[in-house]
Amino acid sequence: MPDAKQTVDAESVIRDAIHALLERRGAAHLTVRPDSRITAELEFDSLELAELSQILEDELGRDPYSEGIIPDTVAELVGFYRG
């Protein structure tokens, strides 16, 4: 059974991280939905992805990118922590 609390935490950590990175790029106006595509729609470049993976590793102890998984959407990224 996945830990419900951990999943919620993961979701908010991911949301906060994505918002922070968008804001720094001056793209705070973009709406982040579960089905938002991280590179195609939110236009994350490799450096932003690198930073995102870093934040996830620091805050949640593991991140999908280090395990060779490249989630397409925000929901897929959250799903990694449910699995």
Binding site: L49, A50, S53, Q54, Y65
Partner: protein, 450 residues
């Protein structure tokens, strides 16, 4: 050579303190007497190579001068070693004997105290042809290496800055470090006084400078940043500094400017030197980096410099003779590991070859990033290093020490804003606020770029 320098000081200013170490004051007369007694002991015991695990500066100087006097090769160990480490140094560098100041349990290595070594009486000292000394590298990466030097070569690179004997020099390094040896040579060349602070902590250092009226201080930029962090214009005015020297790390312009503002009467220099290649250049024009004119020194110069593939190379006649057990090196060009860029007629240091951060194929040098972040309000110290990353191979990571009372969130926002001026790959992607940074031998330790 060292022995002759000491003897000359003892003739000129016998009653002047040579070394002030806390409440202990050692005059030149006493120091030369001690050193001569040790030299007799070295001759009597026929000691030609040995380790020194002493910790008091007076004892170390007396032993080093005595060794030079009889042509024996002393190797100064770091002062904070435990018994196992002393044994391992003695094994590594082939020392059958180690001079100690307290009981040591060493396996199959003879230990001697200075008291055991000292001999009274008359004995003629030979004039040794060579005055060898082994100086260990600081070993920021891996085990220290032993660099074989000769006091006469080392002393050649030191010119007495002035003949006024009242200068007082702070020992802000350990004497076993190359920079510590340089300071000792300067003190003896100018018949000055060496002042050892009780510790390297900023408060102790400032206390020693004020109490003993220290005029000359040489330290790393990291050391100076910590000192500057404790001072304002008013408290700085109480300090009688005449000469401020930065060395061992690249000296950033911002720090030089701050020192000028705090000590308007002092001369501020930064030196480029190394355990292997000796003293290379001193710059006192208030700017960071080296003037490009140093590249035009002729064949006859003691030290020549050139840049190959962005790395500084040096050919030195005042550098080491070779590493321990390595054959005498020719007068050859040697890589320094220091990466440089030429900008506006200056050679600017950008980092070490071992510290390059590769961010998705873009090479990032830590020093310019550190310098920028250190210029942000509220930042005291910063260390930039690469952190492994699955997307880009590495990302730029920075550990930051804030000045007391600085708001974390505000500081982070200011750092991020300042870093917008950097290329995207060079911007720190991870900022950690830490209470302190690891400092070894007064130098900032960056985590190895892995």
């Amino acid at each position: 050579m060292l022995f002759e320098l000491l003897r000359r000081c003892a003739e000129r200013v016998p009653e002047q303190p040579a070394i002030i170490d806390g409440d202990e004051v050692e005059t030149y007369a006493r120091l030369i007497a001690r050193s001569e007694a040790i030299a007799r002991g070295l001759l009597a015991r026929d000691l030609s190579r040995f380790g020194c695990a002493l910790s008091a500066p007076g004892a170390i100087v007396a032993l080093a001068a005595a060794s030079a006097g009889v042509g024996a090769e002393v190797c100064l160990y770091p002062t904070d070693l435990d018994d196992d480490q002393v044994s391992s140094f003695a094994m590594t560098f082939g020392h059958p004997t180690v001079v100690v100041h307290r009981t040591r349990r060493l396996v199959s290595i003879e230990t001697l105290t200075l008291d055991q070594l000292m001999l009274t009486g008359d004995m003629a000292f030979p004039s040794p042809e060579r005055t060898p000394v082994m100086i260990l590298t600081t070993g920021t990466t891996g085990a220290p290496k032993g660099a074989r030097h000769d006091w006469s070569r080392l002393a050649r690179a030191v010119r007495a800055p002035d003949e006024r004997p009242a200068t007082r020099w702070l020992l802000a390094y350990n004497l076993n470090q190359f920079a510590g040896v340089q300071i000792l040579l300067h003190v003896l060349a100018s018949a000055g006084t060496l002042v050892a602070p009780p510790s390297r902590r900023a408060d102790d250092v400032l206390g020693a400078i004020e109490r003993h009226r220290v005029t000359h201080v040489s330290g790393t930029p990291t050391f100076w940043r910590l000192i500057v962090g404790r001072l304002d214009e008013e408290s700085a005015r109480k300090l009688p500094l005449e000469q401020i020297t930065l060395g061992g790390e690249a000296a950033p312009e911002g720090l030089i400017e701050r020192l000028h503002a705090l000590f308007p009467a002092a001369r501020i220099s930064h030196v480029y030197a190394g355990t292997e290649f000796g003293s290379v250049v001193a710059v006192s024009d208030g700017r960071s980096g080296l003037p490009v004119s140093v590249l035009d020194r002729g064949e006859e110069a003691d030290v020549q410099l050139r840049i190959v593939d962005g790395e500084l190379q040096i050919r030195s006649r005042v550098g080491m003779l070779g590493y321990h057990q390595a054959s005498e090196s020719e007068h050859d060009w040697r890589s320094t590991g220091d990466l440089v860029e030429v900008r506006d007629g200056r050679i600017q240091f950008v980092g070490r070859t071992t510290e390059i951060i590769n961010v998705g194929g873009v090479k990032v040098h830590p020093l310019p990033v550190e310098e920028l972040v250190c210029s942000v309000t509220g930042v005291q110290l910063a260390a930039v290093y690469g952190r492994p990353n699955p997307i880009t191979g590495q990302i730029v990571s920075i550990d930051v020490v804030l000045k007391p009372g600085t708001d974390l969130k505000d500081a982070e926002a200011r750092i991020r804003e300042a870093c917008q001026a950097l290329p995207a790959a060079a911007r720190p992607r991870r900022i950690r606020f830490v209470p302190e940074l690891e400092i070894r031998g007064n130098k900032l330790m960056r985590q190895e770029a892995g």
